[in-house]
């Protein structure tokens, strides 16, 4: 059976991290499962975790009064999501809703923040990795804003 440590070591997001760093991170990780329709987090709530999606599909929603939830992006297995835990005031900016039964690794933000503060090298490494994910998402959103199918 694959352990959390093995899973993180093999995940592209953590690729190349020394084993003792992975050990540190595993101390803040746990497996979670969400049923279809479950709300993983809501806009404005405290961002206490981030997630590595192992299986399933999650919608990132914006709630619009009168229109309900508008999905602006979906995330699938292998993707990392949730970066509000990195930036004060550590609150979610969007809703995350499960659209297919989802299994994920949840990383405890409080635990991580403490460890990263006491180990700036690992902190820098994690910020670099998140910056890459954030850049990819930002680029995708920019292309989406171009309304590329309209012409």
């Amino acid at each position: 059976m694959e352990t959390l440590k093995q899973y993180l070591q093999e995940h592209p997001f953590f690729e190349g991290l020394p084993e003792n760093d992975v050990d540190l991170l595993v101390g803040c990780a746990k497996n979670v499962r969400f049923e279809t329709g479950a709300q993983i987090f809501r806009e404005g709530e405290k961002a206490n975790q981030f997630f590595i999606l192992r299986h399933g599909r999650v919608a990132i929603d914006i709630y619009s009064p009168g229109k309900g939830n508008i999905t602006v992006e979906t995330l699938d297995a292998g993707e990392v999501f949730g970066w509000s835990w990195l930036v004060p005031p550590f609150c979610w900016n969007f809703d995350a809703r499960v659209i297919e039964l989802t299994r994920a690794v949840a990383m405890d933000a409080e635990c991580l923040r403490k460890k990263l503060k006491s180990d700036p090298r690992l902190g820098y490494e994690m910020f670099k990795r998140f910056a890459k994910v954030m850049t990819q998402r930002l680029q995708a959103q920019r292309v989406q804003l171009l309304d590329v199918y309209s012409a």
Binding site: R57, A59, I60, K67, G68, N69, I70, T71, V72, E73, T74, D76, G78, I99, E100, A140, V143, Q144, L146, D147, V148, Y149, S150, A151
Partner: protein, 274 residues
Amino acid sequence: MNTDPMVPDLFRVQKVRKETLDTFTLELSPKQKKFRFEPGQFNMLYVSGAGEIPISISGNPNQPESLIHTTRAVGSVTNAMRKLKAGDYLGVRGPFGTKWPVDKAMGDDVVIITGGIGLAPLRPAVYDILAKRGRYGNVVLLYGARTPEDILYPKEIMGWRSRFDMDVHVTVDRAAGSWHSNVGVVTKLIPKAPFDPQNTTAFICGPEVMIRFTTQELKKRGLSDDKIYVSMERNMKCAIGFCGHCQLGPYFVCKDGPVFRYDEIKRLLEIREV
């Protein structure tokens, strides 16, 4: 059929079908029994009193008994076309232009990437490939639309999706309510699409900005420029390479295109003003 390529033949409208809020399909019956064309080619459609415009053929090349065009109502000619009824006539010149290299792609995986109305010019290629399905590796369709309501040919896409020998992935830019599939730009589907980059031919149809980002993603997967084909759009008028309205560098899109191998026109797409 007329032998002068500048003189249209009259075709009778069999059916006008609304596809989405702003797109519709015209089913025409050829004067002669059959209208032969290759996937990717276009016709010049002439509405009396309104004008003539190029429209890609979107029907099945293996069923030449009816001629099918899907287009978006955006200007005076297409708006006049939308008002046509069964029994009306319109002028047709064609078919013109180059084809999707469906024969050359045999033996390869084929990945078809398109968005919005761009599915219409690629549908004949999908029909043709599926008619000779055994001669290809994986067949993948990646399709993007603005919203679920803007998806073209939804029933047909569902039919393709239910096949065991075709991978179909659809994404929209935004969705509300009951949509449970992908949300995001079509290029986001490329990294996980099931094809072997060393043995894949890609067909792309969409606005140039979509072509740009799509080719970037395909290249990240390892596809070479000479295995990517794109359909270009320009202001085509004569359709036979005389008038020069559709000139793109050294090419006339109507005659040398609309389907080009990407390495042949890549340089032209990188220039801000051609």
